[in-house]
Amino acid sequence: MSVNFSTAFKDPDLSRSLVERLHRELDRPLRFMEVCGTHTVAIFQSGMRPLLPAGVKHLSGPGCPVCVTHESEVAAYLQLAEKPGVIIATFGDLMRVPGPGGANLKLAQAQGARVEIVYSAHDALKLAADNPGDTVVFLGIGFETTAPTVAATVLMAREQGLKNFCVLSFHKLVPPALRALLADPDCAVDAFLLPGHVSTILGVEPYRFVADEFHTPGIIAGFDPVDILQALLIMVEQRKSGQFAIVNSYRRAVDDAGNPRAREILDTVFQPADALWRGIGCIPGSGLVFRPEFAQFDAMPRLGLTLPEAKPIAGCKCGDVLKGKMQPSDCPLFAKACTPAKPVGPCMVSTEGSCAAYFKYHVEA
């Protein structure tokens, strides 16, 4: 029998029976956190939240790369807007992220900066080839899912001898962030729904410490209702049995070994370094910087950029939301001063941000 992957994991009857099982089997509260913007949206879109047992609490973690980009990093890439002969190539989501004094890329563009929205790092490379007189800077914002494609693009640029292309690497790594969350004594997370896309690259191994050191279930899951509900049931089972493990519950997409070739390309170009996360601060080894032999592609020294001290946005609680300490609606700015049309914090800017998803989908009981 063949399985239709586009519908089988959305099956309403199966989803309902999994919800019923969850009601039967839940014997203690479960605060689960996803760390992937696609999961955030998928959970809201499915409408499952009002159906879950009262003891199950969904926390939306630091899983949206736009949302975790630090204020200082935003200030750094906004410095590019004032550099003559620079074309900024960026994913569209960054356009409205607020920087110091309310500046953002969209505003900079209106004031004359050259900003191009691209769909991949490779598009930025083409932009560089088409504009030989200018320097194209690709804003490298993303997790392990997109970082290998950026590394591959850098290798291509070197091969093609393209000298007017560079990358501002603010890439972030998921496992160090999980460790930082778990190490926080206030950590309120009972289990992690691990990101399906990031895991296609990482596989299972890099998450082991979640179960082994912190006795917390970590389930790699897909994005359909059946995937997510099944992962919740595994979390419940593990907490009952006290046997904690990382489970790959998304085998149709994720190999236990991940994608070694992609990791190899990543390692060729980048190496881990400490990085700033919005609302969390510095997390050791959680970022990616260029290896010395690729220094010519590093936009930071090449264009004389700095990471200025940047004050957090007054009143914005994105940091507490990202750490699962607060629901978006508990923030005093939520849906008042801060809306998707006029976002104050980054969690409201990105379509996959937890505040934006809450605003867009959540129905007050």
Partner: protein, 341 residues
Amino acid sequence: MAGDTLLLDYGSGGKAAHRLIGELFLKHFDNPVLRTLDDAARLELTGPLAMSTDSYVVDPLFFPGGDIGTLAVHGTVNDVAMLGARPRYLSCGFILEEGLDMEVLERIVASMGNAAREAGVCIVTGDTKVVPRGMADKVFINTTGIGEIIVNPSPSGHSARPGDAVIVSGTMGDHGLTILSHREGLNFSADVRSDSAALNGLTERLLLEVGDIHVLRDPTRGGLATTLNEIAGQSGAVLRIAERDIPVRDAVREGCSFLGLDPLYLANEGKLICILPQEKAEAALAVLRQSPLGADAARIGTVLAPDGAGPGRAGQVILETPMGGHRLLSMLEGEQLPRIC
């Protein structure tokens, strides 16, 4: 005119402009009112009138299921029809980019002529401007439509009442996905094509044969979700919509999932939303389904009072999901969509 290139002269009002009118516009739009070529059109109309204007800047100009010309006629005809009117006349303004291939212009004008004839409206006045290369993107069209309102009261977004049924005339998202996928250079299956169509035949039958139509709207830009929110807001009601009852073609669903789009936010150019008393719902569905334009018509939800038992406040649209949960179906907000109409 094949092989010719549009020059700035054509917009000068001189001989070149006259040639454009004679050989192109009169040829394809021909009707007695236009033929007089006076400064203004003389119209014969009675009763209260409906009037609507819209500008069309779609890119690409031609796409499966239609082109900028069909959209310029259908879009404005439909807007007039949604007020419970019989569309009669259209005006038509062109802003053309210097260097445009005349064959392209003729294809568009011919298709506007056909669309107007099929919809039973006359294009009675027009204007053409040619702007230097780079000052416009090939062809921009503005049409204004005028029609006679045939029912009293006429349908309005303010008139949805608790208990009313919410009906759509067919599948959602076809036009928007067609345009977006073509722009991205992706061609899905032959099933994905624009639904560009004049709906005045359908609306007239609904108004006269079924009657008591509270709301008629065409969910164009912003899609079904946005139009439903407008209606909920105008009427101060809650709309409860069942996701599984919303007709969406498989090819559109799959294309959307591939491109990360939601068909409920994609534009439609040949579909309507009809809200009317529950007991008339079956009659309305029967009328719609008799036409190829309404073959996939479906009841998708109900209008509720804001203080009722279910979730949702006045002005909100609540989507019941297939697994039996619910969520907000909110307005399109902050997303960047390229030009689609």
